[in-house]
Amino acid sequence: METIVSVKPLLAVLVTLFVIPILVSSSSKPNVRESWIFIAGTIKLLLVLSMLPVILEGKQIVLTLFEIAPGAAIAFRVDGLGMLFAIVAASLYLVTSVYSIGYMRGLDEHGQTRFVSFFALAISATIGAAFSANLMTLYLFYEVLSLATYPLVTHHQDANSRLSGRRYLTFILGTSIGLVLPAMIYCYSVTGTLEFSTAGIFAAGELSKPAATVLLLMFVFGFAKAGIMPFHTWLPAAMVAPTPVSALLHAVAVVKVGVFSIVRIITGIFGVELLSEFNLGVMVMTIASVTILVSSCIALSQDELKRRLAFSTISQLSYIVFGVALLTPQGLLGGVIHIAMHAFGKITLFFCAGAIFVATGKKYISQMSGLGKKMPFTFAAFFIGALGVIGLPPSGGFYSKWNLILGTLEAQQTIFMLVLLLSSFLNAFYFLPIIYKGFFGKSEEEGDGPVKIQEANLCLLIPLMFTAFISIVLFFYPTVFVKLINIGLGLL
């Protein structure tokens, strides 16, 4: 495969890192600070997009920074999968920064400079993870992301966020140090390399089936950001964070980095062939299915909107793992593209939750009946986002779910197809009532008079409309992403 050496991936990572000192120094001038964020975000997105044509031509962009040990360098390699993820993360960062301006100012939060600085650091780490050429680099950015998100999760600095922060770190750091690190070092000591390659890094016979099983389990559970049960409890806990954090990081960046890592492990470290030879896909699929079903059920019982979304996220993440674990082209496509589809859908939902909170101060679903009349745009967007998550047209989510189901058929796993269908049903069950109540329910305080539209401010409204719109667009034009995935997985 043709490779091009370029510093663009590095720049794309660093641009939001270098803006941090500027942010800190301009902390007393919020407008200047926010414009810098915007500039950095734009440059970042442009840098990412500028690499897109090259990738679509089937080339790869590589950059080796530091050779730590033979086969384990700190290096970037931009391929289809990474590109897909980077586009999603960079574009949503831009949207979210607009949204967070509105949100943070709307609530007059404290420590805004700290907030935006760590936000920028987190997004740098996310892009770094997307462009990682090997497992070591991926692990590096994974850890940086974990630590950078901690101050965001605990932003309120009260007793509640302290507990959540503690749980967050216990799960994320505990698993990554306790499971991923040894597994990674074991891989390195066996093979002498950690470079991702579609054929896997293990030569034939290097790995026995029990060893492979243990390693795979260590990785799947170890990347706890993916929220595979039972290592999922940090996610609902982390919902104490301000909504932009929940939106970008817990629906998009953090959890997706976890899933993305698992995708990389399955496709780049083990390789599809090795896993299907050992028939390990079914094991991962089973784990994922359990997570999907259980968390959907839990979501049903949640009254706080953000928590319901969090559980929904857990189940949706497992879709991705599930799809990749199918180990068939359709399944892989469906799983990976769900990264993008779910990202746009879920971020819309979170934006809506935040907008509702800012505009009305309401957090619980039971308080929201009739709210759709006051906030029609928000609820419309919510509807579209929910469609995407459930997997119904005309939203992008349909495309990925369709492919997943085809994948199960392709792999002749009918039981698992039933799981998918059942869970879609559950998804619908916990989302649609909100919308129904919102539009047609009766709110407590309102009288009979004409309903006054009382939307949140524009900074909040525009982003959520935008993401909802993209979600629909993706239903009609998923081709770029599909192509990227096919290039990335070598399926062409």
């Binding site: 050779e67 360098a73 404290h110 590096l140 309120h156 009260d158 922060g165 750091l173 140090i177 690190l181």
Partner: protein, 494 residues
């Protein structure tokens, strides 16, 4: 100029003497003299390292006598690196120390700098020398100075801690001296290379075995390997901050260096790992050291004490790595000498800044420190991440090599201990961070107090700059650890 190897050691010694004289005549002169002395030393160390990398091992004959007769400085890649590390850290710390010395030992600053320089001289000499007995004398210089310093710091409990340190320190040094005596008796020589040349013919001798065990026990006591660590926490936490910042990162590391030097250069891998069968036991001991250090650190209520137990834990890393008996483990151990020195230094620098402002560093005193001392805390956080082993800080990379070495040897318990200690350190430091970050608890959800910033009360700028520099170097050294391994450690081990 060919005299750089001697200058590394002699410059601080001369400076110490001039500072000692100046202390009686014009005390203000002591500090600049000390700075000049260490600057020359650091410069010479850099030149030496470059020469060694460019043209191989340097032999410097003291008094011009050929090695087995006279004392020789034999500077290869390993000690060139450690020399630079020691002189560099001592120099940086000296710059950062001006204010804290003024605060803590203002009436005897001149004598303080004299002792400080003598201590550095001792460490540098231990590192540079190629003679077994010379090593002993220099170890005693470092010990004697640190006895004095420990007693000087905490006026209340220091003297007793120091006296206990004296007892254990003397036992350690004497064991080493005995070991050298046994070696001398059987080989008739004191020069390391000479002894190494004679030893292979005496493989099965019980005398050599006892000599080896005695030397190792002596060095272990001096480096505070687990059951022999009791002196360290008190001694380090009671000494004056300016001294603790240097002794904590350097003393144990230099002793680890001595151990590696004895293992690699004097006795040889072949003897240790093929003739003797104690490597497994030592690795187990190291495993215990790691776990015990971590657990004891968890029980501490004072930040300084906690960090000293982390040093005990880190010693286990290096000893285990060195006794792995393979190249990867040894690489990890040597790399960890460098990394651990820098990260402990960074930690203690940050703690020094805190002590400067807060006087006491019990965990409960640290409330709200992120707001009060943001820069210090940034340094502290980076250093803590390095101890935990978060990439890209340097602590991760040495851990990487250590675990690889353990896996290659099949010492899974050691690998597990490394992982567990990372987790313990994570718990430890996040406990500290939580106190600094959350307390005092804000009311409600923190809304509406957007601009009520806590007044920043930072340490003096000289201390901050050094803290920042060292903390950043954690990342730089981490990223370049591949280069360090390839240019220094691997050529050394070949």
């Amino acid at each position: 100029m060919d005299n750089y190897p001697a200058l590394i050691v002699v410059a601080p010694l001369l400076a110490a003497l001039f500072a000692g004289i100046a202390a009686w005549i014009e005390e203000r002169l002591s500090y600049p003299i000390a700075v000049i002395g260490l600057a020359i030393s650091t410069f010479s160390a850099i030149m030496t390292l470059m020469t060694v990398i460019a043209s191989g091992t340097i032999h410097y004959r003291m008094a011009g006598w050929a090695p087995p007769m006279g004392i020789e400085y034999r500077i290869d890649l390993l000690n060139a690196m450690v020399l630079l590390l020691v002189s560099g850290i001592a120099f940086l710390n000296l710059i950062a120390s001006y204010k804290s010395v003024e605060q803590e030992t203002s009436d005897r600053a001149g004598s303080f700098y004299t002792i400080y320089l003598l201590f550095v001289t001792g460490l540098l000499g231990v590192t540079a020398t190629g003679d077994l007995f010379n090593l002993y004398v220099l170890i005693e210089i470092t010990s004697l100075t640190s006895y004095a310093m420990v007693a000087l710091g905490d006026k209340d409990r220091g003297p007793l801690a120091s006296l206990n340190y004296v007892f254990i320190g003397v036992i350690g040094a004497s064991f080493y001296l005995l070991g050298v005596g046994y070696l001398y008796l059987i080989t008739g020589s004191l020069n390391m290379m000479d002894v190494a040349g004679i030893l292979p013919a005496l493989k099965g001798s019980s005398t050599v075995l006892v000599a080896f065990i005695l030397c190792m026990i002596g060095v272990w006591i001096k480096m505070a390997l687990f059951p022999m660590h009791v002196w360290l926490p008190n001694a380090y936490s009671y000494s004056p901050v300016a001294f603790a910042r240097m002794v904590a990162p350097l003393m144990t590391k230099v002793m680890v260096y001595v151990m590696i030097r004895l293992m690699v250069t004097v006795f040889g891998f072949e003897y240790i790992f093929e003739t003797l069968n104690i490597a497994d036991a030592v690795v187990w001991l190291a495993t215990l050291a790691i776990l015990a250090g971590g657990v004891m650190a968890l029980a501490q209520k004072n930040l300084k004490k906690m960090l000293t137990y982390i040093i005990v834990c880190e010693i286990g890393y290096m000893v285990g790595g060195a006794w792995m008996g393979n190249q990867l483990g040894m690489t990890g151990a040597i790399l960890h000498i460098l990394n651990d020195a820098i990260m402990t230094f960074a930690l203690f620098l940050a703690v020094g800044n805190m002590v400067y402002k807060l006087k006491k560093v019990d965990l409960t005193d640290l409330k709200g420190l992120f707001g009060k001392m943001p820069w210090t805390m940034t340094g502290f956080v980076l250093a803590a991440f390095s101890i935990i082993g978060v990439p890209p800080t340097c602590g991760f990379f040495s851990k990487w090599y250590l675990i690889l070495g353990a896996l290659e040897k099949g010492a899974y318990h050691f690998a597990a201990a490394l992982i567990i200690s990372s987790l313990i350190c994570a718990v430890l430091f996040f406990k500290v961070f939580e106190i600094c970050f959350f307390e005092p608890m804000s009311e409600g959800h923190g809304h509406g107090e957007s601009h009520s910033q806590v007044a920043i009360e930072e340490a003096p700028i000289s201390m901050l700059i050094i803290t920042g520099f060292v903390s950043l170097s954690l990342i730089v050294v981490g990223l370049y650890s591949g280069t360090i391994v390839n240019t220094i450690i691997l050529p050394f081990l070949k």
